[in-house]
């Protein structure tokens, strides 16, 4: 598939991607020979336990780290490295991190945090009105604009992180354990915000989580990672009704349920 046309190309294509952390003496193979295709408009859930390589995969997809081996194509092109092209890529692909306490700058107001990517990515637009629009989209009061992160609850902070990620109008959202640090009741609220916005804006969603029940709800396709390798990749209902890999079955059995 040389020079695929822009429209038919998968959004992301990972070919034999590996990633190694560490130096000469001790190193950890976080991802081992991953092949993965993400189509535009897909909602893909990536599950696995701590150390399975989920977060490494998220960082690779948003070009925060470069793979040690293999290649990652975005719309048929290798991930950019030069500044201009990287800025263009970041306008299209954004990420929400797990810890809403660590991922917001405590010295910036909520409004400044949300506006930061608009300035940093060189987008010309009426910033104050865009910030208000984003606050409304994630269900926060316009008055939150002037507050600081420590004045908000975990759920509210995660809404801010989502608003910030959506500020440059990306086409793709990567969520790395975006609801894992939240209480069950608040988690449902934030999941509702993500689901509504993904639908309204027609985003491609890569949703990374260790929680199978969350992934079942939010994604149309599930990829199971185990020790840096993909052990299962199928439509959500197939993975949940007929899991093939023993590890997937163990993950399913571990979900605490109310009888």
């Amino acid at each position: 598939m040389e020079n695929p046309s822009y429209a038919s190309a998968p959004l992301f294509q990972l070919r034999q991607v590996s990633h190694l952390y560490g130096g000469r003496h001790r190193s950890v193979l976080a991802l081992d020979n991953i092949n993965l295709k993400v189509d535009p408009g897909e909602r893909i859930g990536i599950v696995g336990e701590s150390g399975s390589g989920k977060s490494t995969l998220a960082r690779l997809l948003v070009a925060l780290v470069k793979p040690s081996g293999g290649e990652i194509l975005f719309r048929g092109q290798p991930l950019p490295t030069k500044r201009e092209a990287l800025l263009d890529f970041r306008r299209q692909v954004q990420i929400v991190f797990q810890d809403p306490f660590a991922s917001l700058d405590p010295r910036l107001t909520i409004g400044q945090s949300i506006a930061e990517p608009i300035h940093a990515l060189g987008i010309r637009e009426d910033v104050p009105s865009r910030v208000l629009e984003l606050l409304e989209a994630v269900g926060l009061a316009p008055s939150s604009n002037a507050l600081y992160p420590h004045q908000l609850s975990g759920g509210q902070r995660q809404r801010v992180s989502i608003a910030r990620a959506l500020a440059p109008r990306p086409t793709t959202l990567v969520a790395d354990e975006a609801v894992s640090a939240l209480d069950v009741s608040v988690r449902a609220q934030v999941l509702n915000v993500i689901a509504r916005l993904v639908q309204e804006l027609g985003l491609t969603l890569v949703f990374i989580s260790h929680d199978m029940s969350v992934v079942r709800h939010i994604s149309s396709r599930v990829v199971v990672l185990y020790r840096g390798a993909i052990v299962e990749d199928n439509k959500t209902e197939v993975v949940f009704t007929n899991p093939q890999h023993p590890y997937t079955r163990a993950l399913l059995a571990a979900i605490p349920r109310l009888r």
Binding site: D183, V184, S185, N192, I218, L251, P256, L258
Partner: protein, 322 residues
């Protein structure tokens, strides 16, 4: 037999009332679940029992462990109870272990202090405890520092420390919230197994109703610093009477519900938990409640005996409104 009895406890920090009229008891070997959202006061309740409250806290009421009153107990006597008769497991195993001490020595410390064991004897006992909590090479792993262990292993170390002196009761505050689901299941099983082996009571605190329901035989729901409903696990999960408990159950079941349209909107609880000290007077759940009336401006009284509820308009114990 009643092991721990909490009676009319009020707690304020810096003049802000955070726990109001908390009363409950735990029997010997009972497994009690305490659930609620962040800010409901559930962790503070545990810290009050442990006598680990921050400065500027004022406590009134009574907390009795067997025949000993804990409210106002001096620090010297309290520290003899802690780790010996009451033990606590915290949420974050990375910050609750000493990063500079090998885990064998760290577990042994509690045995040296409370049981007066010698260094070698306490170390040997610590190694045996590591094996009990599922370490496959306890002799080698006793020499590890906390950073060399995974989150699940660190929480197992915390469990080993908690059960080292065969306490009467273990308070576990969100012990598995920082862990993956698979590890969470293992750690909960271990906690349940080891406490019941010794006839040790367990108070499990969590925001996750499903987690608590799988381990505990009795559940209490906390909101705004007070217990709003208390019943056996099966009673509470099937015949909840308080509107808040019903809302919590609905959010917990939302993700499990296969009929729920995938990617649709999940049930949530309207509004957010108010900030500390900003709960409305009267019923603290006012403003978020679907059954609110003028009557809710006065604090509701607790009704029921085995199934208690603090509400003016509880759902009937039948299937009404379910």
């Amino acid at each position: 037999m009643t092991l721990l009895e909490v009676r009319n406890v009020h707690l304020a920090i810096g003049g802000v009332e955070l726990i109001r009229d908390l009363s409950f008891s735990i029997d010997t070997a009972q497994r009690l679940g305490l659930i609620g959202e962040s800010g409901s006061g559930k962790s503070l309740a545990a810290l009050a029992i442990m006598g680990l409250l921050p400065y500027r806290s004022t406590v009134s009421g009574s907390i009795r462990l067997s025949d000993q009153e804990l409210v106002g107990l001096d620090e010297r006597r309290y520290s003899k109870l802690r780790g010996d008769r009451i033990a606590m497991i915290f949420q974050e195993p990375m910050t609750s272990l000493n990063p500079l001490m090998r885990i064998g020595k760290q577990i042994g410390e509690v045995l040296r202090i409370h049981e007066g064991l010698s260094r070698p004897a306490s170390y040997a006992q610590a190694t045996a405890l590591l094996e009990r909590v599922g370490f496959d090479q306890p002799a080698q792993q006793a020499r590890a520092f906390p950073h060399q262990l995974s989150g699940g292993q660190r929480q197992r170390v915390m469990i080993a420390m908690a059960i080292a002196c065969n306490p009467d009761i273990v308070l576990a505050d969100e012990p598995t919230t920082a862990l993956d689901v698979t590890v969470q299941a293992q750690v909960l099983d271990l906690l349940a197994e080891l406490t019941s082996e010794h006839g040790c009571a367990l108070m499990l605190i969590s925001h996750d109703l499903a987690v608590v329901a799988n381990v505990c035989d009795h559940i209490q729901v906390m909101y705004g610093g007070a217990i709003v409903e208390s019943a056996t696990t099966s009673e509470l999960t099937h015949f909840a009477e308080h509107p808040y408990t019903r809302a919590l159950l609905a959010t917990s079941r939302g993700l499990d519900d296969l009929d729920n349209e995938s990617f649709g909107q999940l049930p949530t609880i309207a509004g957010t938990v108010p900030q500390a000290g900003q709960f409305p007077p009267g019923c603290t759940y006012r403003g978020r409640c679907e059954r609110e009336s003028y009557q809710c401006q006065t604090p509701p009284v607790v009704t029921g005996t085995t199934h208690q509820v603090r509400c003016w308009h509880p759902y009937g114990s039948s299937s009404e409104g379910a």
